[in-house]
């Protein structure tokens, strides 16, 4: 096992797949010569050359459209959207074209492509560069959606996404790029649609994603040590397909569900999971379902404001302590 940063694990995942399969190509803005604004694709141009690793104009619709056209004619493109907020400028391509084309053509057109994008807050970039929008993608039938929380996961899930025959959006967490972690040596390919139980507890099941997994784990330590509350922490990892089996079985064991979401409250992924649990696990629940999410506001930019807007370890501890016995 080697220790890699999350950003290097991104590049490693892409490189692994490009080396394996000549059909894999990579395009985006400032991704080739400059290695990306988050430096997550450094070295790819050098390794694979300008035919396969391509810098684009500021034309997100063209970038995603080109990926779509290439995918339906035999390539396996990986397209970068620099900040996930910018998915909005090409949302028609993503939500109306890519997501629906296989279905509308009754399976004639296959779209094996990956969209990678930097998601989430923590950089004091303000409301237009800090959103967690994984729920936007989850809401659209025809898209697979993952949001890895660790270097190993980001490498393995990017690889799985590239090999998947359907369009997959990989939400990379901006504030995790510098995080270090063990990544398996050699070829590493993960699986879409699998949650991971990161911690086992008795009193409450906390379901989290990406950055919030780390906060939930920290909070669980505090809750255990300081308040005697023992939490299971499930890292959802994959929103579509969703590993409801793991989630339902973990909630059944503890009788309580808490979601920890970075997205603003309304229609977050936690709402969907809450509604599934409130239906299928209802008789196992010992108390209300709680959602801890960013309040339904655009994100402020100043450091103290931003830190107090997305769920913090302290807030998770406080809310669980106040409401779980």
């Amino acid at each position: 096992m080697a220790e890699l940063t999350y950003r290097d694990a991104v590049a490693a995942g892409i490189a692994q797949e490009m080396a394996r399969d000549e059909r894999v190509v990579f395009l985006g803005e400032d991704v080739a010569a400059a290695g990306g604004v988050f430096k997550a694709t450094v070295g790819l141009l050098e390794k694979f050359g300008p035919r396969r690793v391509r810098d684009c104009p500021i034309s997100e619709q063209a970038i995603i459209g080109a990926a779509m056209g290439a995918a339906m004619t035999g390539l396996r493109p990986i397209a970068e959207i620099m900040f996930s907020d910018f998915l909005a400028v090409c949302w028609d391509m993503v939500a109306n074209e890519i997501a629906k084309t296989r279905y509308m053509t009754n399976g004639q057109i296959a779209l094996p492509l990956v969209i990678r994008t930097a998601n989430g807050a923590g950089s004091r970039f303000g409301a237009q560069h800090s959103q967690a929008v994984e729920n936007w993608a989850m809401a659209v039938p025809g898209l697979k959606v993952v949001a890895p929380a660790t270097p190993a996961d980001v490498k393995g899930l990017i690889a799985a996404a590239v090999r998947d025959p359907d369009p997959v959006i990989v939400f990379e967490q901006k504030s995790l790029y510098s995080m270090k972690g063990e990544v398996p040596d050699g070829e590493h390919v993960d699986q879409l649609g699998r949650a991971k139980v990161r911690r086992q507890g008795k009193d409450c099941t906390v379901v989290a994603l990406a950055l919030m997994v780390h906060r939930a784990l920290e909070a669980a330590e505090v809750l255990e040590k300081e308040h005697g509350i023992s939490c299971t922490v499930v890292d959802v990892r994959s929103l579509v397909p969703l590993d409801t089996q793991t989630i339902l079985s973990e909630v059944s064991k503890t009788g309580r569900l808490v979601t920890v979401e970075e997205n603003p409250r309304l229609c977050g992924w936690g709402a969907e999971i809450a509604s599934i649990v409130a239906d299928e696990c209802f008789w196992d629940l010992d108390g209300p379902i709680m959602r801890i999410a960013t309040p339904h506001v655009p994100l402020p930019s100043a450091d103290q404001l931003e830190d107090n807007t997305i769920p913090s370890v302290e807030r998770i501890v406080r809310e669980i302590r106040e409401r779980i016995d």
Binding site: V25, A62, G69, Y103, P165, P241
Partner: protein, 330 residues
């Protein structure tokens, strides 16, 4: 443009194809009047020369990308007419098994890579297909048809710039039929030719052709597709034409100035082409045969499509994913 260089066989093929497109579109309209076409539909009546000119010029492995006004373009690539009419009627035999409808006709096996119903989206997609051809060195060309109104949307601009910078083998064909839906294009566009007057913004040549002349379209198509195949990059062609009917089946097209339709009917591409063939010495009997063959083909397709059953409800949860299903959970 001198059209002398086109051989007799090609000319007959251009006529045959225009006839099929014409008759099939008329049939689609009849079926709508009989309440057999349930959704919307957008006919290419009057615009057939463009689809035919390109259809004949394209290599079988070239790719067509078109819009909701895509019956003609899809048929021009050789898609099954039964499949087209069946799709319009929402039948099992439809090209898409009833899941796409009139606005999304697709026949990948024939190079008809989809009909796109949201303005502008398919221009970048066509560029992407062209990229893949370039990447693999196949000398395939992507041809992308769209309307005058589409030249005002952002995706047009992005696709054109992108295609030129990457020197992609893609031909963008604007069918300028003078109207967006019900609004005259001149009233919403800063230049006279919504596409051609913008070619220079991408370093491209200004190309305007008579879209009601299949020969002119054909020769233009051959010229720019050959160039693209050889690595000469994209082209933007504006073909002037007119739709004989309303924007969609629901539109009586009352917004047109009096006499405009009549004027354009005199330049009807199918009639004109018949006249030209006659002038060039093609026997009346040959023309009649082509006409009755085309009609028979449409009749047969209609009968087959009508005989097809409604799609099975199982289809609803099929083909979201490559595994054939629609599961979003385990």
């Amino acid at each position: 443009m001198s059209t002398n260089s086109i051989g007799r066989e090609t000319r007959l093929e251009l006529y045959r194809l225009q006839l099929e497109l014409r008759y099939c579109e008329k049939r689609a309209y009849d079926l709508f009047l009989q309440n057999l076409v349930k959704g919307t539909s957008h006919l290419s009546l009057g615009q057939e020369a463009i689809a035919a000119g390109f259809g004949v010029a394209m290599r079988p492995d070239d790719w067509t990308f078109c819009t909701y006004r895509g019956h003609a373009h899809t048929l021009a690539r050789g898609a099954s007419m039964t499949g087209v009419l069946g799709e319009l009627m929402g039948r099992e035999c439809g090209l898409l098994g009833g899941k796409g409808g009139s606005m999304h006709l697709t026949d990948v096996a024939k190079g008809a890579m989809g009909s796109y119903a949201i303005i502008g989206a398919h221009l970048p997609v066509a560029a992407g297909a062209a990229w893949s051809a370039q990447y693999r060195g196949t000398e395939q060309v992507a041809v992308c048809f769209f309307g005058d109104g589409t030249a005002n949307i952002g995706a047009f601009h992005e696709a054109l710039n992108f295609a030129v910078v990457w020197k992609l083998p893609v031909i963008f064909v604007c069918e300028n039929n003078l109207y967006m839906e019900y609004t005259p294009i001149g009233s919403v566009t800063a230049v006279e030719h919504p596409a051609a007057d913008r070619a220079s913004a991408y370093g491209l040549e200004k190309v305007v052709v008579d879209g009601n002349d299949a020969d002119e379209v054909y020769l233009t198509a051959v010229k720019y597709m050959n160039r693209a195949r050889k690595g000469g990059g994209p082209a933007l062609i504006e073909a002037m034409t007119y739709r004989h009917s309303g924007h969609s089946r629901a539109d009586p097209a009352k917004y047109r100035p009096e006499g405009e339709l009549e004027q354009w009917l005199q330049r009807d591409p199918v009639n004109r082409y018949r006249g030209r063939l006659a002038q060039l010495g093609v026997a009346e009997a040959t023309l009649k045969d082509l006409e009755s063959d085309a009609l028979r083909k449409v009749d047969e397709a209609t009968a087959a499509a009508r005989a097809s059953s409604p799609p099975s409800l199982d289809g609803i949860e099929k083909n979201v994913w490559a595994d054939g299903g629609a599961a979003w959970r385990n």
